[in-house]
Amino acid sequence: MDTIKAIYASLEKVMDPEIPVLNVLEMGMITDVQQDEKGIHIKMIPTFSACPAISVIRQSISDTVSKDLHLPVEVSVDAAIQWNSNRLTETAKEKLRGFGIAAPPVHHGEIEADMLLHVTCPHCGSDNTFMRSPFGATLCRAMHFCRQCGMMFEQFKPLT
Protein backbone atom coordinates (compact mmCIF):
# COMPACT_ATOMS: atom_id res chain seq x y z
CA MET A 1 0.00 0.00 0.00
CA ASP A 2 2.84 2.36 0.90
CA THR A 3 4.42 1.63 -2.47
CA ILE A 4 1.24 2.67 -4.25
CA LYS A 5 1.22 5.89 -2.23
CA ALA A 6 4.83 6.48 -3.16
CA ILE A 7 4.02 5.93 -6.84
CA TYR A 8 1.27 8.55 -6.68
CA ALA A 9 3.66 10.94 -4.92
CA SER A 10 6.12 10.35 -7.73
CA LEU A 11 3.47 10.90 -10.41
CA GLU A 12 2.76 14.34 -8.89
CA LYS A 13 6.15 15.38 -10.23
CA VAL A 14 5.38 14.44 -13.85
CA MET A 15 4.18 17.60 -15.59
CA ASP A 16 2.26 17.97 -18.86
CA PRO A 17 4.84 19.34 -21.33
CA GLU A 18 2.26 21.62 -22.99
CA ILE A 19 0.80 22.95 -19.71
CA PRO A 20 3.80 22.75 -17.36
CA VAL A 21 1.85 23.88 -14.26
CA LEU A 22 -0.25 20.69 -14.25
CA ASN A 23 0.87 17.19 -13.36
CA VAL A 24 -0.53 14.05 -14.94
CA LEU A 25 -2.76 13.30 -11.93
CA GLU A 26 -4.34 16.77 -11.98
CA MET A 27 -4.86 16.32 -15.73
CA GLY A 28 -6.83 13.13 -15.02
CA MET A 29 -4.53 11.15 -17.31
CA ILE A 30 -3.77 8.26 -14.94
CA THR A 31 -6.40 5.51 -14.92
CA ASP A 32 -4.71 2.71 -12.96
CA VAL A 33 -1.66 2.00 -10.80
CA GLN A 34 -0.72 -1.59 -9.89
CA GLN A 35 2.30 -3.33 -8.47
CA ASP A 36 3.22 -7.01 -8.71
CA GLU A 37 6.37 -9.14 -8.63
CA LYS A 38 7.37 -7.92 -12.13
CA GLY A 39 7.25 -4.27 -11.17
CA ILE A 40 4.94 -1.29 -11.48
CA HIS A 41 2.16 -1.08 -14.07
CA ILE A 42 0.67 2.32 -14.83
CA LYS A 43 -2.19 2.94 -17.23
CA MET A 44 -2.70 6.35 -18.79
CA ILE A 45 -4.86 8.07 -21.40
CA PRO A 46 -4.17 10.95 -23.81
CA THR A 47 -6.36 14.08 -23.75
CA PHE A 48 -6.80 14.16 -27.54
CA SER A 49 -6.16 11.09 -29.69
CA ALA A 50 -3.57 12.94 -31.78
CA CYS A 51 -1.82 14.50 -28.78
CA PRO A 52 1.83 14.67 -29.92
CA ALA A 53 3.03 14.86 -26.31
CA ILE A 54 1.84 11.38 -25.45
CA SER A 55 5.13 9.54 -26.00
CA VAL A 56 7.04 12.23 -24.11
CA ILE A 57 4.63 11.97 -21.17
CA ARG A 58 4.81 8.19 -21.20
CA GLN A 59 8.59 8.26 -21.10
CA SER A 60 8.57 10.91 -18.43
CA ILE A 61 6.25 8.81 -16.21
CA SER A 62 8.44 5.77 -16.68
CA ASP A 63 11.69 7.66 -15.96
CA THR A 64 10.39 9.52 -12.91
CA VAL A 65 8.67 6.60 -11.20
CA SER A 66 11.48 4.09 -11.83
CA LYS A 67 14.02 6.59 -10.50
CA ASP A 68 11.97 7.23 -7.34
CA LEU A 69 10.89 3.65 -6.62
CA HIS A 70 13.88 1.72 -7.98
CA LEU A 71 11.54 -0.74 -9.69
CA PRO A 72 10.84 -1.54 -13.36
CA VAL A 73 7.90 0.50 -14.67
CA GLU A 74 5.58 -0.35 -17.53
CA VAL A 75 3.35 2.44 -18.84
CA SER A 76 0.52 1.50 -21.20
CA VAL A 77 -2.32 3.39 -22.88
CA ASP A 78 -5.71 2.41 -21.47
CA ALA A 79 -8.14 1.75 -24.35
CA ALA A 80 -11.10 1.17 -22.05
CA ILE A 81 -11.27 4.70 -20.63
CA GLN A 82 -11.53 7.87 -22.71
CA TRP A 83 -10.32 11.19 -21.41
CA ASN A 84 -12.89 13.95 -21.10
CA SER A 85 -12.50 17.42 -19.63
CA ASN A 86 -14.51 16.57 -16.48
CA ARG A 87 -11.45 14.55 -15.45
CA LEU A 88 -9.51 17.77 -14.74
CA THR A 89 -9.45 18.23 -10.98
CA GLU A 90 -10.60 21.48 -9.32
CA THR A 91 -6.98 22.18 -8.36
CA ALA A 92 -6.06 21.78 -12.01
CA LYS A 93 -8.69 24.30 -13.11
CA GLU A 94 -7.49 26.80 -10.48
CA LYS A 95 -3.91 26.42 -11.69
CA LEU A 96 -4.99 26.77 -15.33
CA ARG A 97 -6.61 30.11 -14.57
CA GLY A 98 -3.46 31.21 -12.75
CA PHE A 99 -1.52 30.25 -15.89
CA GLY A 100 -3.80 32.52 -17.96
CA ILE A 101 -5.89 29.76 -19.57
CA ALA A 102 -9.66 29.63 -19.01
CA ALA A 103 -10.81 26.29 -17.59
CA PRO A 104 -13.47 24.13 -19.25
CA PRO A 105 -16.89 24.15 -17.56
CA VAL A 106 -18.26 20.84 -16.28
CA HIS A 107 -20.32 19.22 -19.04
CA HIS A 108 -23.08 16.63 -18.97
CA GLY A 109 -22.14 14.52 -21.97
CA GLU A 110 -22.77 17.14 -24.66
CA ILE A 111 -20.86 20.28 -25.59
CA GLU A 112 -23.28 23.16 -26.05
CA ALA A 113 -22.38 26.29 -28.02
CA ASP A 114 -22.90 28.42 -24.88
CA MET A 115 -19.98 26.73 -23.17
CA LEU A 116 -17.72 28.15 -25.86
CA LEU A 117 -19.28 31.47 -26.64
CA HIS A 118 -19.13 33.27 -23.28
CA VAL A 119 -16.08 32.07 -21.48
CA THR A 120 -14.89 34.04 -18.44
CA CYS A 121 -11.70 35.97 -19.20
CA PRO A 122 -8.83 34.63 -17.04
CA HIS A 123 -7.20 38.08 -17.03
CA CYS A 124 -10.02 40.39 -15.89
CA GLY A 125 -12.91 38.06 -14.99
CA SER A 126 -15.34 39.56 -17.52
CA ASP A 127 -17.92 37.42 -19.36
CA ASN A 128 -18.04 39.90 -22.22
CA THR A 129 -15.97 37.67 -24.48
CA PHE A 130 -16.30 35.79 -27.75
CA MET A 131 -14.66 32.78 -29.36
CA ARG A 132 -12.26 33.63 -32.19
CA SER A 133 -11.64 30.00 -33.16
CA PRO A 134 -12.32 26.55 -31.70
CA PHE A 135 -8.69 25.73 -32.57
CA GLY A 136 -5.56 27.16 -30.98
CA ALA A 137 -1.89 26.63 -30.23
CA THR A 138 -2.50 23.03 -29.16
CA LEU A 139 -5.36 20.61 -29.86
CA CYS A 140 -6.75 21.08 -26.36
CA ARG A 141 -7.09 24.87 -26.54
CA ALA A 142 -9.49 27.33 -28.23
CA MET A 143 -8.88 31.05 -28.84
CA HIS A 144 -11.11 33.73 -27.34
CA PHE A 145 -11.14 37.52 -27.18
CA CYS A 146 -12.17 39.67 -24.22
CA ARG A 147 -14.06 42.86 -25.14
CA GLN A 148 -13.61 44.21 -21.61
CA CYS A 149 -9.83 44.17 -21.35
CA GLY A 150 -9.06 43.83 -25.06
CA MET A 151 -6.92 40.74 -24.58
CA MET A 152 -6.79 37.47 -26.48
CA PHE A 153 -6.88 34.44 -24.22
CA GLU A 154 -6.97 30.68 -24.51
CA GLN A 155 -9.44 28.19 -23.08
CA PHE A 156 -8.80 24.55 -22.30
CA LYS A 157 -11.64 23.13 -24.39
CA PRO A 158 -14.46 21.17 -22.84
CA LEU A 159 -14.32 17.69 -24.37
CA THR A 160 -16.86 14.89 -24.05
Partner: protein, 247 residues
Protein backbone atom coordinates in the same frame (compact mmCIF):
# COMPACT_ATOMS: atom_id res chain seq x y z
CA UNK B 1 -16.81 -11.13 -40.79
CA UNK B 2 -13.23 -10.25 -39.78
CA UNK B 3 -12.42 -9.37 -43.39
CA UNK B 4 -15.47 -7.13 -43.67
CA UNK B 5 -14.43 -5.28 -40.50
CA UNK B 6 -10.94 -4.86 -41.92
CA UNK B 7 -12.44 -3.34 -45.09
CA UNK B 8 -14.44 -0.89 -43.01
CA UNK B 9 -11.53 0.11 -40.77
CA UNK B 10 -9.18 0.44 -43.76
CA UNK B 11 -11.46 2.81 -45.65
CA UNK B 12 -12.01 4.94 -42.54
CA UNK B 13 -8.26 5.04 -41.85
CA UNK B 14 -7.35 5.89 -45.45
CA UNK B 15 -9.95 8.68 -45.58
CA UNK B 16 -8.51 10.18 -42.40
CA UNK B 17 -4.90 9.86 -43.55
CA UNK B 18 -5.44 11.37 -46.97
CA UNK B 19 -7.71 14.20 -45.88
CA UNK B 20 -5.41 14.84 -42.93
CA UNK B 21 -2.57 15.27 -45.39
CA UNK B 22 -4.65 17.56 -47.59
CA UNK B 23 -5.69 19.70 -44.60
CA UNK B 24 -2.04 20.07 -43.63
CA UNK B 25 -1.35 21.65 -47.01
CA UNK B 26 -3.10 24.77 -45.66
CA UNK B 27 -0.41 25.23 -43.01
CA UNK B 28 1.16 28.59 -43.74
CA UNK B 29 -1.33 29.38 -46.51
CA UNK B 30 -4.65 29.92 -44.71
CA UNK B 31 -6.58 33.05 -45.73
CA UNK B 32 -6.50 34.30 -42.13
CA UNK B 33 -4.36 33.15 -39.22
CA UNK B 34 -7.25 31.44 -37.41
CA UNK B 35 -8.06 29.34 -40.49
CA UNK B 36 -4.45 28.41 -40.97
CA UNK B 37 -4.41 27.11 -37.38
CA UNK B 38 -7.83 25.44 -37.72
CA UNK B 39 -6.89 23.42 -40.81
CA UNK B 40 -3.54 22.51 -39.26
CA UNK B 41 -5.25 21.36 -36.05
CA UNK B 42 -7.83 19.36 -37.95
CA UNK B 43 -5.02 17.77 -39.96
CA UNK B 44 -3.42 16.70 -36.71
CA UNK B 45 -6.71 15.25 -35.43
CA UNK B 46 -7.23 13.32 -38.68
CA UNK B 47 -3.75 11.83 -38.62
CA UNK B 48 -4.39 10.83 -35.00
CA UNK B 49 -7.62 9.07 -36.00
CA UNK B 50 -5.86 7.36 -38.91
CA UNK B 51 -3.09 6.19 -36.60
CA UNK B 52 -5.58 4.74 -34.08
CA UNK B 53 -7.37 2.89 -36.91
CA UNK B 54 -4.15 1.54 -38.45
CA UNK B 55 -3.15 0.29 -35.00
CA UNK B 56 -6.54 -1.39 -34.71
CA UNK B 57 -5.80 -3.20 -37.99
CA UNK B 58 -2.38 -4.18 -36.73
CA UNK B 59 -3.99 -5.83 -33.70
CA UNK B 60 -6.21 -7.95 -35.94
CA UNK B 61 -5.07 -11.20 -37.47
CA UNK B 62 -2.38 -10.73 -40.11
CA UNK B 63 -2.04 -7.06 -39.20
CA UNK B 64 0.91 -4.97 -40.39
CA UNK B 65 3.00 -2.21 -38.91
CA UNK B 66 0.92 1.03 -39.14
CA UNK B 67 3.66 3.09 -40.80
CA UNK B 68 4.44 0.42 -43.40
CA UNK B 69 0.74 -0.04 -44.10
CA UNK B 70 0.14 3.71 -44.36
CA UNK B 71 3.07 4.51 -46.63
CA UNK B 72 4.09 1.50 -48.67
CA UNK B 73 0.92 0.16 -50.30
CA UNK B 74 0.32 0.67 -54.03
CA UNK B 75 -2.45 3.19 -54.77
CA UNK B 76 -4.84 0.43 -55.83
CA UNK B 77 -4.84 -0.90 -52.26
CA UNK B 78 -5.99 2.37 -50.73
CA UNK B 79 -9.71 2.54 -49.94
CA UNK B 80 -10.17 6.30 -49.52
CA UNK B 81 -13.00 8.07 -51.35
CA UNK B 82 -12.29 10.54 -54.16
CA UNK B 83 -13.43 13.51 -52.06
CA UNK B 84 -10.36 13.18 -49.82
CA UNK B 85 -7.95 12.88 -52.75
CA UNK B 86 -8.73 16.15 -54.47
CA UNK B 87 -6.11 18.93 -54.22
CA UNK B 88 -6.92 21.71 -51.74
CA UNK B 89 -8.05 23.99 -54.57
CA UNK B 90 -9.66 27.19 -53.37
CA UNK B 91 -10.34 27.92 -49.71
CA UNK B 92 -14.10 27.58 -50.30
CA UNK B 93 -13.58 24.13 -51.83
CA UNK B 94 -11.51 22.95 -48.86
CA UNK B 95 -14.02 24.44 -46.42
CA UNK B 96 -16.97 22.76 -48.14
CA UNK B 97 -15.12 19.44 -48.28
CA UNK B 98 -14.36 19.73 -44.55
CA UNK B 99 -18.03 20.51 -43.79
CA UNK B 100 -19.41 17.58 -45.81
CA UNK B 101 -16.75 15.12 -44.68
CA UNK B 102 -16.82 15.93 -40.96
CA UNK B 103 -20.60 15.64 -40.80
CA UNK B 104 -20.22 12.23 -42.43
CA UNK B 105 -17.59 11.31 -39.84
CA UNK B 106 -19.92 12.47 -37.07
CA UNK B 107 -22.80 10.20 -38.13
CA UNK B 108 -20.36 7.33 -38.71
CA UNK B 109 -18.70 7.55 -35.30
CA UNK B 110 -22.05 8.19 -33.55
CA UNK B 111 -23.35 4.94 -35.02
CA UNK B 112 -20.18 3.14 -33.90
CA UNK B 113 -20.96 4.00 -30.25
CA UNK B 114 -23.34 1.02 -30.52
CA UNK B 115 -21.00 -1.24 -32.46
CA UNK B 116 -20.58 -4.90 -31.55
CA UNK B 117 -16.85 -4.50 -32.35
CA UNK B 118 -15.29 -3.27 -29.10
CA UNK B 119 -12.20 -1.45 -30.48
CA UNK B 120 -14.40 0.68 -32.79
CA UNK B 121 -16.85 1.35 -29.98
CA UNK B 122 -14.04 2.56 -27.71
CA UNK B 123 -12.46 4.72 -30.40
CA UNK B 124 -15.85 6.22 -31.32
CA UNK B 125 -16.24 7.64 -27.81
CA UNK B 126 -12.95 9.46 -28.16
CA UNK B 127 -13.36 10.68 -31.72
CA UNK B 128 -16.94 11.87 -31.42
CA UNK B 129 -16.03 14.55 -28.87
CA UNK B 130 -13.18 15.79 -31.05
CA UNK B 131 -15.34 15.92 -34.19
CA UNK B 132 -17.74 18.24 -32.39
CA UNK B 133 -15.16 21.02 -32.83
CA UNK B 134 -14.74 20.21 -36.51
CA UNK B 135 -18.45 20.53 -37.27
CA UNK B 136 -18.78 23.61 -35.05
CA UNK B 137 -16.02 25.24 -37.05
CA UNK B 138 -17.42 24.14 -40.41
CA UNK B 139 -21.03 25.15 -39.66
CA UNK B 140 -20.03 28.62 -38.45
CA UNK B 141 -18.03 29.39 -41.61
CA UNK B 142 -20.49 27.81 -44.04
CA UNK B 143 -23.32 29.94 -42.65
CA UNK B 144 -21.24 33.10 -42.42
CA UNK B 145 -19.87 32.84 -45.97
CA UNK B 146 -23.09 31.50 -47.48
CA UNK B 147 -24.80 34.67 -46.30
CA UNK B 148 -21.81 36.93 -46.82
CA UNK B 149 -22.84 38.92 -49.87
CA UNK B 150 -23.32 38.03 -53.52
CA UNK B 151 -19.76 37.09 -54.44
CA UNK B 152 -19.29 35.05 -51.29
CA UNK B 153 -22.59 33.26 -51.78
CA UNK B 154 -21.80 32.47 -55.38
CA UNK B 155 -18.43 30.96 -54.46
CA UNK B 156 -19.95 28.84 -51.71
CA UNK B 157 -22.71 27.58 -54.00
CA UNK B 158 -20.12 26.65 -56.66
CA UNK B 159 -18.08 24.85 -53.99
CA UNK B 160 -21.15 22.90 -52.88
CA UNK B 161 -22.00 22.00 -56.49
CA UNK B 162 -18.53 20.59 -57.12
CA UNK B 163 -18.10 18.89 -53.72
CA UNK B 164 -21.49 17.26 -53.41
CA UNK B 165 -21.09 14.43 -55.96
CA UNK B 166 -17.65 13.72 -54.49
CA UNK B 167 -19.09 13.67 -50.97
CA UNK B 168 -21.82 11.26 -52.05
CA UNK B 169 -18.93 8.89 -52.86
CA UNK B 170 -18.12 8.67 -49.13
CA UNK B 171 -21.14 6.40 -48.90
CA UNK B 172 -20.26 4.01 -51.70
CA UNK B 173 -21.80 0.71 -50.60
CA UNK B 174 -19.34 -1.87 -49.29
CA UNK B 175 -19.13 -5.42 -50.65
CA UNK B 176 -21.52 -6.67 -47.94
CA UNK B 177 -22.81 -3.94 -45.61
CA UNK B 178 -25.62 -6.29 -44.55
CA UNK B 179 -23.03 -8.71 -43.20
CA UNK B 180 -21.79 -5.96 -40.88
CA UNK B 181 -25.17 -5.00 -39.44
CA UNK B 182 -24.03 -5.55 -35.84
CA UNK B 183 -20.89 -3.50 -36.41
CA UNK B 184 -22.47 -0.43 -38.05
CA UNK B 185 -25.74 0.40 -39.82
CA UNK B 186 -24.30 0.45 -43.36
CA UNK B 187 -23.57 3.24 -45.83
CA UNK B 188 -27.12 3.81 -46.99
CA UNK B 189 -28.39 4.55 -43.48
CA UNK B 190 -25.39 6.76 -42.73
CA UNK B 191 -26.02 8.77 -45.88
CA UNK B 192 -29.65 9.39 -44.85
CA UNK B 193 -28.56 10.56 -41.38
CA UNK B 194 -25.88 12.75 -42.95
CA UNK B 195 -28.44 14.45 -45.19
CA UNK B 196 -30.60 15.18 -42.15
CA UNK B 197 -27.64 16.88 -40.46
CA UNK B 198 -26.25 18.94 -43.33
CA UNK B 199 -29.58 20.11 -44.73
CA UNK B 200 -30.51 22.55 -41.89
CA UNK B 201 -27.04 24.14 -41.99
CA UNK B 202 -27.16 24.58 -45.77
CA UNK B 203 -30.62 26.08 -45.45
CA UNK B 204 -29.34 28.62 -42.91
CA UNK B 205 -26.50 29.39 -45.29
CA UNK B 206 -29.03 29.92 -48.13
CA UNK B 207 -27.28 27.27 -50.23
CA UNK B 208 -29.12 24.83 -52.48
CA UNK B 209 -28.28 21.18 -52.86
CA UNK B 210 -27.64 20.26 -56.48
CA UNK B 211 -30.35 18.13 -58.13
CA UNK B 212 -29.54 14.70 -59.55
CA UNK B 213 -25.86 13.91 -59.03
CA UNK B 214 -23.68 10.97 -60.01
CA UNK B 215 -21.77 9.92 -56.88
CA UNK B 216 -18.00 9.64 -57.32
CA UNK B 217 -17.71 5.92 -56.65
CA UNK B 218 -14.69 3.65 -57.08
CA UNK B 219 -12.41 4.71 -54.23
CA UNK B 220 -13.61 1.98 -51.87
CA UNK B 221 -12.60 -0.60 -54.50
CA UNK B 222 -9.16 0.84 -55.19
CA UNK B 223 -10.02 2.93 -58.27
CA UNK B 224 -8.64 6.40 -57.68
CA UNK B 225 -8.12 9.80 -59.26
CA UNK B 226 -4.61 10.63 -60.55
CA UNK B 227 -4.34 13.07 -57.63
CA UNK B 228 -3.96 10.20 -55.17
CA UNK B 229 -0.94 8.80 -57.00
CA UNK B 230 0.83 12.16 -56.89
CA UNK B 231 -0.06 12.60 -53.23
CA UNK B 232 1.23 9.15 -52.25
CA UNK B 233 4.47 9.81 -54.12
CA UNK B 234 5.03 12.95 -52.09
CA UNK B 235 3.75 11.59 -48.78
CA UNK B 236 5.94 8.49 -48.79
CA UNK B 237 9.03 10.00 -50.38
CA UNK B 238 11.06 10.28 -47.19
CA UNK B 239 9.69 7.11 -45.63
CA UNK B 240 10.61 4.98 -48.66
CA UNK B 241 14.25 6.08 -48.52
CA UNK B 242 14.68 3.92 -45.43
CA UNK B 243 11.50 2.08 -44.40
CA UNK B 244 13.31 0.40 -41.49
CA UNK B 245 14.58 3.64 -39.94
CA UNK B 246 13.63 4.33 -36.34
CA UNK B 247 12.12 7.83 -35.93
Amino acid sequence: MENLIKELVTKMADDALILGHRNSEWTGLGPVMEEDIAFSSMAQDKIGHAWALYRMLQDMEGGQDPDQFAFLRPASEYKCCHLTEMPIGTYEFSLMRHFLFDHAETVRYSSLLESSFLPLRQLAQKVKGELKYHTLHADAWIIQLGKGGAESHEKMQAALDSCFPLAAGIFEPGPDDGGLSDVYPGEKVLQERWMENIYPVLTKAALNLPGEVTPAYGGRYGQHTPYLHALLEEMGEVFRQDPAAAW
